[in-house]
């Protein structure tokens, strides 16, 4: 009974995760400029990877495999924003301008 519930749960998580990953891929192709594409990659990196790994964890049961899955997921959640930030910063430094909706609106929103 519990095994069945775990199976169903991991099934749902894996399918949802796959869908989110594909969504991220679509965004990667559809979005207009580099800075918006980072967001698409972020969707795959965080929610997609998270769901798939959680699905696998349910399959693994209480074992060292579970521990390894947790470690890899933590590692990815730790490094992926770092890498994204580094790439974005580098792009900004090299003079790549983000494509904005309308002209400079910096002061308008932060209050």
């Amino acid at each position: 009974m519990i095994a069945l519930a775990l199976d169903v749960g991991s099934w749902i998580l894996l399918v949802a995760g796959s869908f989110i990953c594909v969504t991220g891929g679509v965004g990667m192709l559809r979005f207009p400029d580099f800075f918006t594409r980072i967001h698409a990659a972020g969707v795959t990196d965080t929610l997609g990877a998270g769901l798939i790994f959680t699905g696998l964890m349910l399959q693994a049961g209480l074992s060292l495999v579970l521990a390894k899955l947790v470690m890899i997921l933590l590692f990815m959640l730790f490094t992926s924003p770092t890498a994204s930030h580094a790439v974005a910063k580098a792009a900004l430094h090299s003079g790549l301008e983000p494509q904005l909706d309308d002209v400079d609106d910096r002061s308008g929103v932060d209050s």
């Binding site: 594909v22 990667m28 192709l29 795959t44 798939i52 590692f75 770092t82 580094a86 790439v87």
Partner: protein
Amino acid sequence: MFLTATAAILVVMLMALIRAFLGPTLYDRILAVNMFGTNTVLLIAVVGFLMGRPEFLDIAMVYALVNFISVIAILRYFEYSPPDETVEHK
């Protein structure tokens, strides 16, 4: 069920590859490579389960590692190289 995930991940890898080919800027390519790497980690983990050999997780770990380090390395060489080399791709 693992097959669904595998297929989806392969599709995403293909998409990232297309973005890496198209560019247009250097940073798009780097981002695409990073995303490709993330998906490779996922793929290896899922395939490991598909084939019932969770030892593959060690490889997934190495990939996650290598992915991070190589992105940093690529950036190090291009963000901080002398200006005469970086202007060209603007």
